[in-house]
């Protein structure tokens, strides 16, 4: 990074703003952050906009319109290091459920004046459109992880974003496995950690909001659950809930759909 304070930008695409809020939730660190970097373009937080190019750009949201498809190109050109944040930006998000159906039917059914709706047939991740330097998943992103990334980049270090499953963090934290001890369906063994195994620590199964871990084997878990307690359509539904369009969950659910009567 250059001597002057690095310029940081935060952009929003099709999304719920939750990941931008995760940045604003860094309450204790926000002032230090504002000292260390120039928050040059972050409309959710301030109206002042400083022109690019930006040293670090965070992008929230998926690409669902023609306008977004063009805008992301300009943002990429104006950014040295681009970080996709959140399930939408990394995998297409919940709105990628449209990718399996005909979006026109929805537009017709829901909007009073469907002719005003200009939308693409699909919701796709940022990396489908431009080169992404780092992906931070989660719905929303984890603020600790965000901070690690910013602090590491400021020091020229490679951010440590482990690719392994939630299970490892449950074990480090000492949370007894909710699937084994309480019969709760949990996507933890398939899901990348980053949340510090939050849901199981409250007795809930993992929803998979960080998307697949590097070794995720959804079909293996589905096969096991089918034999024990949960039918395959339910597993498909869960896998598609947040990160369904990530390549691993997508391939697995499509295969499961074909092989399930």
């Amino acid at each position: 990074m250059n001597q002057a304070r690095p310029k940081v930008a935060v952009y929003k695409f099709s999304s719920c703003d939750g990941c931008q809020l995760a940045i604003l939730c860094l309450e204790d660190e926000l002032l230090t952050l504002a000292e260390k970097v120039d928050i040059a373009n972050f409309l959710e937080a301030r109206s002042r906009v400083v022109d690019g190019p930006y040293d670090i750009t965070f992008v929230e949201g998926s690409i669902t319109t023609e306008e977004e498809r063009e805008r992301i190109q300009r943002i990429r050109e104006n950014s040295k290091y681009l970080v996709a944040i959140g399930a939408c930006a990394v995998s297409g998000g919940i709105q990628a459920l449209r990718n399996w159906i005909h979006v026109d039917a929805f537009v017709q059914a829901i909007y009073a004046t469907p002719e005003h709706i200009h939308t693409l047939a699909t919701s796709t991740p940022i990396a489908d459109h431009v080169h992404v330097d780092l992906e931070l998943s989660g719905c929303p992103v984890n603020k600790r992880q965000l901070l690690t990334v910013i602090a590491s980049l400021l020091r020229g270090r490679i951010p440590d974003v482990p690719p392994y499953a939630v299970c490892i963090d449950c074990k480090l934290n000492g949370t007894p496995c909710v699937m084994v001890a309480q019969d709760v369906v949990c996507l933890g063994p398939l899901t990348r950690t980053g949340c510090d195994a939050l849901c199981p620590s409250f007795g809930r199964g993992c929803y998979g909001c960080f998307g697949p871990s590097d070794m995720s084997k959804p079909e293996t878990l589905a096969e096991h659950l089918k034999g024990r307690r949960t039918a395959t359509p339910e597993i498909i539904r869960r896998l598609r809930g947040i990160n369904g369009w990530s390549p691993k969950f997508r391939a697995a659910t499509e295969k499961l759909e074909k092989t399930t009567p």
Partner: protein, 369 residues
């Protein structure tokens, strides 16, 4: 007067609180079984009421249930999701912290090792501690934190009076009767604890209890209670030439078959009481404060086997094989003992219930052919 070392005594069960108080009086932190989130885990305790009184457990491959019953038993369960390595070789340990201010200033040089008293160490887990002693204390690489924690630890062991379906300590010659080094070893009877005094410290903590030499009746009942546990053990591993059997079948199709059912989550290594692998993580915050933390790692993570130029175990087949061959074959060559003590945790806590004893049986039948 206090009992001599190697005496067998009996104390009324409520006197266990006096033992706790004596241990706490010598500034030890008590760690023992306690019910957490539907499982009998290990946590910090002060009073006997925090023990899982009346609780028992049922364990099967991929399934664990803690159950509460009418009887006022203190230790009527087997090993749970945690093992003592959480405390001797903690999952996260800050090695030092430092501040970058032009140069590097060390702010905090490692953690002060806590002094523990372990309450209710089962035979298999006592053996597991002995296994980790070889790795982390008695070998060429001594881990100072482990050495300090281990040397100060008081051990109140407990003989199992029931066994779970996943236990196979008899095969691994580690239980259910406690052998090896302990300060006290208890067998629970309905009215008393029968205690073997294993050390001077073990004798001293009986101060103020109404201990009495165990009579023949108590000793007989205690022996019978442990035999009952032994009879309940159904799982079995044949250990003769097991290492060479596995090494001869490194290319067996069985590895692929089993790893096909495996999720690659690494839970088996995380719950295992003898696994010792760690990675080192450096954290940094915005102010430039940095911590170096040692974190448990597992041979199932991809980073674990990532070396310069690529991954030496890129497939789950290779990683599954690493775990099994390390525990049951290479460990013996490295440390002179089996890396498995038969506690059954990897069977119970595998989310898909892969049973190591069945896997080894399958290799045995291949080998016989």
């Amino acid at each position: 007067m206090l009992p001599r070392v190697s005496a067998t005594v009996a104390i009324p069960k409520p006197d266990l609180q006096q033992v706790f108080d004596n241990l706490r009086g010598s500034r030890l932190r008590l760690i023992g079984p306690t019910v957490v989130d539907g499982a009998i885990a290990l946590g910090e305790i002060e009073r006997t009421e925090q023990l899982p009184i009346g609780w028992s457990d049922e364990q099967q491959p991929g399934r664990y249930r803690a159950k509460h019953g009418a009887e006022k038993t203190y230790f009527a369960f087997n090993v749970g999701p945690h093992s003592w390595r959480r405390f001797l070789h903690p999952p996260r340990l800050t090695l030092f912290s430092a501040k970058a201010n032009g140069k590097m200033t060390i702010e905090h040089d490692g953690e002060e090792p806590p002094r523990y008293a372990f309450i209710g160490v089962r035979a298999c887990d006592l053996q597991a501690i002995a296994v980790q002693d070889r790795v982390l204390m008695n070998g060429s690489y001594r881990d100072p934190q482990y050495v300090a924690r281990r040397s100060n630890a008081f051990i109140l062991a407990v003989n199992c009076t029931k066994a779970s379906s996943t236990c196979f300590c008899t095969s691994m010659q580690s239980g259910p009767r406690v052998t090896g080094a302990f300060d006290l070893a208890a067998t629970e009877l309905p009215d008393v604890f029968v205690l073997d005094v294993g050390s001077e410290a073990g004798s001293q903590v009986l101060e103020g209890t109404s201990w009495a030499p165990a009579n023949a009746f108590d000793v007989g009942r205690a022996t019978e209670a442990v035999q009952k546990a032994e009879r309940q053990i159904t799982r079995e591993v044949r250990t003769d030439h097991l290492g060479s059997l596995l090494f001869e079948h490194l290319e067996s199709p069985l590895w692929k078959e089993v790893s096909g059912r495996c999720l690659g989550c690494g839970n088996c290594t995380m719950v295992c009481p003898t696994c010792f692998c760690t990675t080192v993580v450096d954290t940094i915050d915005l102010s430039g404060r940095s911590e170096r933390i040692r974190v448990w790692d597992s041979c199932y993570t991809t980073d674990f086997s990532h070396v310069h130029g690529g991954n030496i175990r890129p497939s789950l087949r290779a990683r599954y094989r690493q775990w099994v061959t390390h525990k049951f074959a290479a460990w013996r060559e490295q440390f002179g003992v089996s890396g498995c003590v038969g506690c059954g945790r990897c069977i119970t806590w595998c989310p898909v219930g892969i049973d190591i004893t069945e896997v080894l049986k399958a290799f045995r039948s291949t080998g016989v052919k």
